[in-house]
């Protein structure tokens, strides 16, 4: 077998080279993952926090239901649900671009996992932390904002790192609804050029590189947030 890397310099039929195409596809992958990450973190922290509000059983039940629903349906099926089924039922969603629908699907799916981590992080804190905050006259909301959540965030950063890397990898399911991201590129370019091995290798390397970037970004965040002496130092990733 011989390598034919010059396949990346050939025209794909629309005036761009396969090299330009794969870079654009990489941009889509990173874009989908980044937008979904923002949704997943926001909802994940909100739902995870609400699940610890044991004074309000209804809120806890709703939070648990959120986690169970989005965790127990395969991500690919959720993508189909957002892309095909919901726009059929709610016709106004038909104008929404596919990108938005996939980002919501990935964001909600990942939010359930993050909510689980957030809840575990909050429950891992000594009860005294929250009580001390209340005793100092903070309102429950303030005690979460200034005491409990900042501590919990630092505890859950390592699992949050692997969830973020999972999100990046899961973004590959967007191929199923024709988002032009890396996996879609891999499938189409493989068919057009029949140089599958070169194409797949390049895509695989870009995924690995992206996962590594996410890992380093989260590690930097961890260092940035570290309080000397507060928590035994935790190294990110793997």
């Amino acid at each position: 077998m011989t390598w034919e890397w010059q396949v990346f310099l050939s025209d794909d039929g629309s005036g761009r080279t396969y090299f330009e195409w794969i870079i654009q596809a990489w941009g889509w992958t990173l874009g989908v993952a980044a937008c979904a990450w923002v949704i997943a973190i926001s909802i994940g922290f909100m739902v995870g926090t609400l699940r610890t509000a044991t004074k309000y059983p209804v809120v806890v039940t709703l939070g648990n239901a959120w986690v169970e629903v989005f965790r127990n349906i395969p991500i690919l099926v959720q993508v189909f649900l957002w892309y095909f089924v919901l726009p059929r039922v709610f016709t106004s969603m038909q104008q929404w671009p596919g990108f938005v629908l996939v980002v919501i699907a990935l964001g909600f799916f990942t939010s359930s996992r993050i909510a689980e981590q957030v809840k575990a992080g909050i429950n891992a804190l000594p009860k005294g932390q929250g009580m001390a905050a209340l005793a100092m006259g903070l309102t429950p909301l303030q005690s979460y904002r200034y005491v409990i959540l900042p501590m919990a965030l630092r505890i859950i950063l390592p699992p949050l790192t692997s969830e973020s890397m999972n999100l990046l990898k899961n973004s590959s399911v967007a191929f199923a609804v024709s988002i032009p991201e890396l996996t879609m590129f891999a499938m189409q370019a493989q068919e057009e050029t029949s140089r599958g091995i070169e194409i797949y290798l390049a895509v695989t390397l870009l995924y690995a590189l992206s996962a590594f970037l996410v890992n380093r970004l989260m590690a930097a965040l961890e260092r940035h947030l570290q309080i000397p002496g507060a928590i035994p130092s935790i190294s990110g990733g793997h």
């Binding site: 089924v85 797949y200 690995a208």
Partner: protein, 222 residues
């Protein structure tokens, strides 16, 4: 608001399209759990063996598999298998090999944690009794490691079951494909997706509730 018409769904569809897919998804889940745990245990033992070369091979394999999306792994095997073994194999066989190879990386991390959870004293006591490495692993370490990790292994199996839907990428006939095919033939694709969602949820939710109960039971015994 658009209307969904679920009336097309009948026993006929279940027996013609869905059951075949469910059978394959289940078979793939069970087969690759067993294969994955065996290969994963070997990888974990390699990693903990203390021999540099063996442990490096295991580290590279596990971390490599874990840093690329499963869909890409599925595509890779589907592309390479015919070249490697000389003749083309179906999407289903390719899926089996892929899932065993991919999930082994995840099971190996679980088994490694399980093996490391066994106290050193156990291993030393077995050595003091004159057991060989193989006897030590087979009779003392692995049974306990396996039992300690049972809930985690089960949870991973549920994740695996969800992941089987990704064989969509190579067109293998799994549970999701069963619904998609039925939806296409009856001209009701959206309804079919909705039904697939419900079925996957019911299966995964029941299984994970069962694992939760199992976990509570095991933690009482300890």
């Amino acid at each position: 608001m658009g209307e969904l018409d679920l009336s097309f769904f009948s026993y006929d569809i279940i027996s013609k399209f869905v059951l075949k897919g469910l059978y394959f998804s289940t078979e793939l889940t069970i087969g690759s759990t067993i294969g994955g745990v065996i290969l994963g245990t070997v990888l974990a033992l390699m990693r903990l063996s203390g021999t540099k070369t063996l442990s490096w091979i295991a580290v590279i394999y596990v971390n490599g598999m874990r840093s690329i999306p499963l869909v890409m792994v599925i595509l890779w095997f589907f592309l390479l298998m015919p070249t490697l073994i000389g003749h083309s194999i179906g999407a289903e066989t390719s899926a089996f090999i892929t899932f065993i190879a991919f999930e082994a990386a995840f099971f190996s991390e679980i088994m490694r944690a399980g093996i490391q959870s066994i106290s050193k004293g156990q291993v030393m006591a077995a050595q003091a009794l004159g057991m060989t490495y193989a006897q030590n692993m087979q009779l003392v370490v692995l049974p306990q490691a396996f039992r300690n990790m049972l809930p985690v292994l089960m949870t991973q199996t549920i994740v695996l079951f969800q992941d089987t839907s990704l064989v969509y990428a190579i067109g293998a006939y799994d549970l999701l494909k069963g619904f998609v095919t039925a939806g296409k033939i009856y001209g009701r694709p959206e309804e079919a997706y909705l039904l697939a969602t419900v079925v996957y949820f019911v299966i995964c939710f029941s299984l994970s509730s069962w694992v939760k109960r199992l976990q509570a039971k095991i933690s009482i015994i300890r």
